[in-house]
Amino acid sequence: MTILIVLLSLAVGAYLIAVLESWAVHGRLQPARPAISALALLGRESLLARTPDRLLFETGPVLLLVAGLLAVAVIPLAPGLIITDMATGALFLNAALAYVLVALIMAGWGPNGAYGMIGGWRFLGQFVAYAMLIVMPITAVVLRAESLSTVDIVTSQSSLWNIAYQPLGFALFVAAAMGLCWLPPLDLPTAPGDLAGGVEAEYTGVRFAVLRLARMVIILALAGATVTFYLGGWLGPWLPDWAWSGIKILIVAGLMVSAGRLVPRVRETRYLELSWKLGIPLALGNIFLVGVIVLVVPI
C-alpha cells in the first residue's frame, strides 16, 4: 500500500517536473506537453547503434531507473509513509545514487559512439566533484540527528530546520545534487552544445523514454533528499504532513530544473577545481562547525 502511494506520488511529481522542464527549455507552459512527448517517443522506433555493446546499452537506462527508485525508497513523505525506514537510510541513499554513475557509464559506452562515451566518462571524471559534496554534508546532517535513519533526521529538525542550522551544508548539497542529476548548468554528460546529447545521443524511442523517466525519478529523489535533510521533511504548520512534503519537494525540484536556463554551462575544469579546492574544504569545515554546535549549543 505504502509502495503504491509513493509510486503514484512519484509519477505525479515526475509529470509536474517534466512540465516545468519543458517550460525551462521551450519557454512555454504546456501542461499536456510531457504526455504528448512520451506518447510520441513510444511511437518512434528504438534504434540500435552500429556494433553496440548491446548488454550495456540495454541495461544502462534500466539500471538508472532502478537506482532512482531505490533512492526514493528511503525518502519519508510523512510519518509512516516511507517504503523502508532503514537504520542506515542516509547511507543507503548514497549507495543507490552511486549506481547513477555506473548506469551512465554503461549508457555512454554501450551505443559505441564517441559522444556518448565521452559523456559517460566525463561523468565519472566529475565523480569526486559531486559525490564528496553529497556525502560530507550528509555526514554533518547525521551528526546532528545522531542517526542514519531518514525519519530520525526529519524529526531532529523539529526545533530548527537544517537549512538554518547548517546553511553551508545545504548550499553544497544542492549544488552537488544538481551535478549528480546532470541538470544545467552542470549538464556536462549530455551537454547539447559540446556533445550533441552525449550519453543520451544514441537513445531513441522507448529506450530514450526510459532514460528520461529515470532522470526525472532521480531529480525527485534528490529533491526529496534535500527536503528530508535540510527543509524539515514533512514538518510544517496547518497543512497535512504529506502535503508539506509534496510542496517542498516540488519547489526544490522546480528550482533545480529551471535555474540552469539563466546561466551558461559550467566548464568542466572549473567545476572540478571549485569542488575539489573549495567545496571539499568547506564541507569538512561544515562537519567541524556542526560538530562544535552539536556539542556546545543544544538546539
Binding site: 512527448s37 511511437g43 559512439g113 564517441a114 552544445g193 550533441a196
Partner: protein, 694 residues
C-alpha cells in the same frame, strides 16, 4: 514520410500518431544560425530543435542544400528514427534525399503553413505500411571485382583480368568517393526494433570500440585500402596472419595493417619477406614475443605466458620495435590508429617468474603520443559537424581527442560557392545577388561590397544620403549578426535564456526600419547589461581561446585583442558619422563577447545617427568598363573584392573573405584544450564557413 510500423491504424496508433504530429522535433540543415539569418522563428512555429538527428523526427532543410552538405544531410536523415519526415523551405535540389513531405517558401508564413501540412502528414501517415527504406547513398557499398595485380581493372562481374588473366577478386567499395567511410552492407530486412543504423560521416558518432586506439596519424591508410585492392592486411604482432580484408587479428585482436609485401594470391603464401630468410639460413626456431628467453625448435605456445611462439627472426624484429606503425585499415568511420605498446623487451632485466614490465604503465604507454598535460592515453578521432549544434553550420571539424582534451584538429568548410561567377559575363544586378548568396549569414555586407566595387569600376558615385543609408543597412546587419552569434553562444553554452532573447531580437531587428530599431534600443541595452552581469559567464569564457595580436586576425577577433583594425575607419562617411574603432584588451572569448556587445551599441548609434536605411543596389553602371576594388568590414572582418567590368558586364572577380583566416585560427584556439573549452573557443571566433569559393 517513412512509416515505422506495419498494418492499419488502430485507436492506439491514431493516438500515438496524433501525439507525434504535435511533438515535432526538428534537426535543421544546414543549421539554426542560417535559419535565424533567414528570418525564421522555428520555435515560434512550434518546432523544437534537437541537438542530434537521433532525437528528431523532422529534417528541416533550408534550401538550396549546398552540394557539400548533401551527403551529410542524407546520413543525418538515415540516423533519424522512423517515422520521420522532411520539411523543405525554399526551392532547390535535395540531392540524395527523398522528396520532401512538406514544402514552403523560405519565409515565416511559409514555415507555418508547411508545419501544418507536416502535422497532417505525420498524423495520417505515421503507420503507413507501403514505405520504402532509405539508405544514405554515401554509406551504400557495392560489390565489384578487381585484379590483384592490376588495381586499375575493376568490373562488376567476376572473371579474369584482361591484362594478366588472373582471377579477379571481390571487394566492397563505397558508392561515393568517401574512401575512408566505407560501410559494411546494411541489412535491410531486419525487424524495426533491431534495425542496425548507420552512423558516421555527416553528423557525428565515430564508431569506435575495438579501435579506441590513439593517433591522428596516417589517415591515408584507409583510403589506400580502398583504392588499392592489392594490399593485404597483416597483424603487427603475428606476421603469419594474412588477410585480404582489413579487420582484426584472430590471435591478439590488434588491427591488421596493410602489409607492404604483395604476395601473388590472397591467402596464399603466408610466409613472406624476412621470414623466408630465417627459413633459408637454419631450421626455423621459435620464440615468444613476450619472453625472448624462450626459444625452441617447434612451433607451439610459450610455457610462461601461453602466447603463440613466432619464428625467431621476427621476434628479434618485433622486440624493441615500435609496432605503432598505424593500424588503420579498419574503415568504419572512426579514424584511429593504434600506437603499439609491446616495446623493447630484449634488453630488460628478467626476474624469473615475473614478466618484465608486467602491467607497467610506463611500458604500456611508452610509444603513445603525449598531450600537453604529459599524460599518455589512447587517442580517438571524433568528427564534429557540419551540423553540430555548438558550431557554425557547414564547418567540418575533426578533432583528435586525448581523453577529452583536444590533441589535434583539422577543419574545413563543407559549404561555399563553387565559383564566384557562373558565367564569364554577369550583369551587375546578378553579380550583386550572387555575392549576397555567397553568405547567408551576412548578405547585405556582401551586396554592399559588390556595389562599391562595381561603382568604382564604373567610376560612379552615389549621393551621400544613399551612401549613408547603405551604411545604416550594413550596420543593422552587423547588429543582427552579432545577436545571431549571441544566440549561437547561448545554444552552445546551454544558456537558454540568452538563446531565446537574442533570437527574438535578431528576428525583430533583421528587417526593422529605423523607427523600430529606436524603439527596441532600451531592450537591447537591457539585454546587453544583463549579459555582462550573468553569473558564471566570466568563469566560462575568461582565458578561453586567447589569441595573441598579430596580422592574421580578422575583424572583431582582432579588435578584441586590442588591434585597432577596421576597414570602416578608412571610410570618409564613417569618419563623418564620428566612428572610432572600438577595441578590447584580452583577446580571449570573454573579450570577444564584450567586443561584440560594444559593437552592437556602436552600430545602434550609427543607425540612429543616419536615420534611414536603404539596401545597397548597383547604381548607374550602364555599359561602363574598368576595374574596381572595394573593402567592406563585414560582421566577421574585412572582405575585399576586385573585379573587372567590361561593357557593363562583370568578366572577372576575385574576393578575399575572413573565413580562411578563421579556419586557420581553429587549431590555435582548440589544440591542447579540454573539449568544451575548445568548442567555446571555436564558437567565439564567430566564423562563417560560407564565405569561400573553391
Amino acid at each position: 514520410m517513412i512509416g515505422a510500423r506495419q498494418g492499419t491504424m488502430t485507436m492506439l496508433q491514431r493516438l500515438v500518431a496524433a501525439a507525434m504530429s504535435r511533438d515535432i522535433r526538428g534537426f535543421v540543415v544546414p543549421g539554426a544560425d542560417v535559419a535565424r539569418a533567414a528570418g525564421l522563428d522555428l520555435g515560434g512555429a512550434g518546432l523544437h530543435l534537437s541537438a542530434t538527428p537521433r532525437h528528431a523526427n523532422v529534417l528541416v532543410i533550408i534550401a538550396p542544400l549546398p552540394a557539400g552538405l548533401a551527403d551529410a544531410a542524407s546520413v543525418a536523415y538515415g540516423q533519424m528514427p522512423r517515422p520521420r519526415a522532411i520539411l523543405a523551405l525554399g526551392s532547390g535540389d535535395l540531392g540524395p534525399l527523398p522528396d520532401a513531405d512538406a514544402t514552403g517558401p523560405l519565409t515565416q508564413a511559409g514555415l507555418v503553413t508547411a508545419m501544418e501540412d507536416l502535422r497532417w502528414v505525420i498524423a495520417t501517415g505515421s503507420f503507413r505500411s507501403d514505405v520504402d527504406d532509405y539508405e544514405a547513398p554515401t554509406l551504400q557499398t557495392r560489390t565489384e571485382y578487381t585484379c590483384p595485380m592490376h588495381p586499375e581493372v575493376v568490373q562488376d562481374e567476376p572473371g579474369n583480368c584482361p591484362k594478366c588473366g588472373m582471377t579477379l577478386v571481390l571487394r566492397k567499395a563505397a558508392v561515393s568517393s568517401h574512401a575512408g567511410h566505407a560501410m559494411p552492407e546494411k541489412e535491410r530486412d531486419m525487424p524495426v526494433e533491431t534495425r542496425v543504423e548507420t552512423t558516421s560521416a555527416g553528423h557525428d558518432h565515430a564508431n569506435d570500440k575495438g579501435n579506441k586506439h590513439g593517433g591522428a596519424h596516417d589517415h591515408g591508410h584507409a583510403k589506400h585500402a580502398v583504392s588499392e585492392p592489392l594490399v593485404q592486411y597483416t597483424c603487427p604482432m603475428h606476421s603469419e596472419v594474412i588477410s585480404a580484408e582489413p579487420g582484426s587479428c584472430p590471435k591478439c585482436g590488434m588491427f591488421l595493417v596493410p602489409a607492404d609485401t604483395k604476395s601473388e594470391h590472397a591467402g596464399h603464401d603466408a610466409r613472406h619477406g624476412h621470414t623466408k630468410h630465417a627459413a633459408d639460413e637454419s631450421p626455423a626456431r621459435y620464440t615468444c614475443p613476450m619472453h625472448p628467453e624462450v626459444v625452441q625448435d617447434e612451433p607451439g605456445n610459450c610455457p610462461k605466458c601461453g602466447m603463440t611462439l613466432v619464428p625467431v627472426e621476427e621476434a628479434v624484429e618485433n622486440s624493441g620495435h615500435d609496432h605503432g606503425a598505424a593500424s588503420q585499415g579498419h574503415d568504419n568511420g572512426s579514424k584511429s590508429s593504434h600506437q603499439g605498446s609491446h616495446a623493447s623487451h630484449g634488453n630488460d632485466v628478467v626476474i624469473e617468474g615475473i614478466e618484465a614490465h608486467f602491467m607497467s604503465m610506463t611500458d604500456l604507454t611508452r610509444d603513445m603520443p603525449a598531450s600537453e598535460d604529459g599524460l599518455k592515453m589512447e587517442w580517438i578521432g571524433v568528427p564534429f559537424g557540419p551540423f553540430f549544434p555548438g558550431l557554425p553550420s557547414g564547418l567540418r571539424l575533426d578533432l583528435t581527442l586525448d581523453g577529452d582534451a583536444v590533441a589535434g584538429t583539422s577543419a574545413d568548410s563543407a559549404v561555399g560557392l563553387s565559383e564566384l561567377l557562373h558565367e564569364d559575363t554577369t550583369t551587375p544586378a546578378a553579380f550583386v545577388d550572387q555575392l549576397a548568396a555567397l553568405s547567408p549569414l551576412s548578405p547585405v555586407a556582401y551586396s554592399l561590397l559588390a556595389c562599391l566595387a562595381l561603382e568604382q569600376a564604373a567610376e560612379q558615385s552615389v549621393p551621400s544620403s544613399v551612401a549613408r543609408a547603405r551604411i545604416a543597412a550594413a550596420e543593422r546587419e552587423r547588429l543582427t549578426s552579432h545577436f545571431g552569434w549571441l544566440a549561437g553562444f547561448g545554444t552552445q553554452a546551454g544558456f537558454t535564456w540568452l538563446e531565446k532573447r537574442a533570437t527574438a531580437l535578431q528576428l525583430k531587428l533583421r528587417v526593422a526600419p529605423v523607427i523600430e530599431i529606436a524603439a527596441l534600443a532600451p531592450k537591447i541595452t537591457a539585454l546587453l547589461t544583463r549579459i555582462q552581469r550573468t553569473p558564471l559567464l566570466k568563469a566560462r569564457l575568461k582565458g578561453i581561446g586567447r589569441l595573441a595580436g598579430d596580422d592574421a586576425l580578422p575583424g572583431p577577433v582582432a579588435r578584441a585583442g586590442g588591434i585597432a583594425r577596421d576597414a570602416r575607419s578608412d571610410d570618409p562617411i564613417y569618419t563623418e558619422l564620428g566612428f572610432t574603432v572600438l577595441t578590447a584588451t584580452d583577446g580571449d572569448a570573454l573579450a570577444r563577447l564584450t567586443q561584440r556587445c560594444g559593437e552592437i551599441f556602436q552600430s545602434l548609434e550609427l543607425i540612429l545617427k543616419v536615420g534611414a536605411i536603404a539596401m545597397p543596389e548597383p547604381h548607374g553602371i550602364g555599359t561602363a568598363s574598368g576595374t574596381g576594388e572595394a573593402v567592406v568590414e563585414t560582421p566577421r572582418g574585412a572582405a575585399r573584392l576586385s573585379l573587372t567590368l567590361h561593357n557593363g558586364k562583370v568578366t572577372a572577380a576575385n574576393i578575399e573573405t575572413p573565413t580562411a583566416a578563421h579556419v586557420d585560427l581553429i587549431a590555435t584556439v582548440a589544440d591542447g584544450r579540454e573539449l568544451g573549452d575548445a568548442l567555446t573557443g571555436i564558437g567565439s571566433l564567430d566564423m562563417s564557413p560560407w564565405e569561400v569559393t573553391a
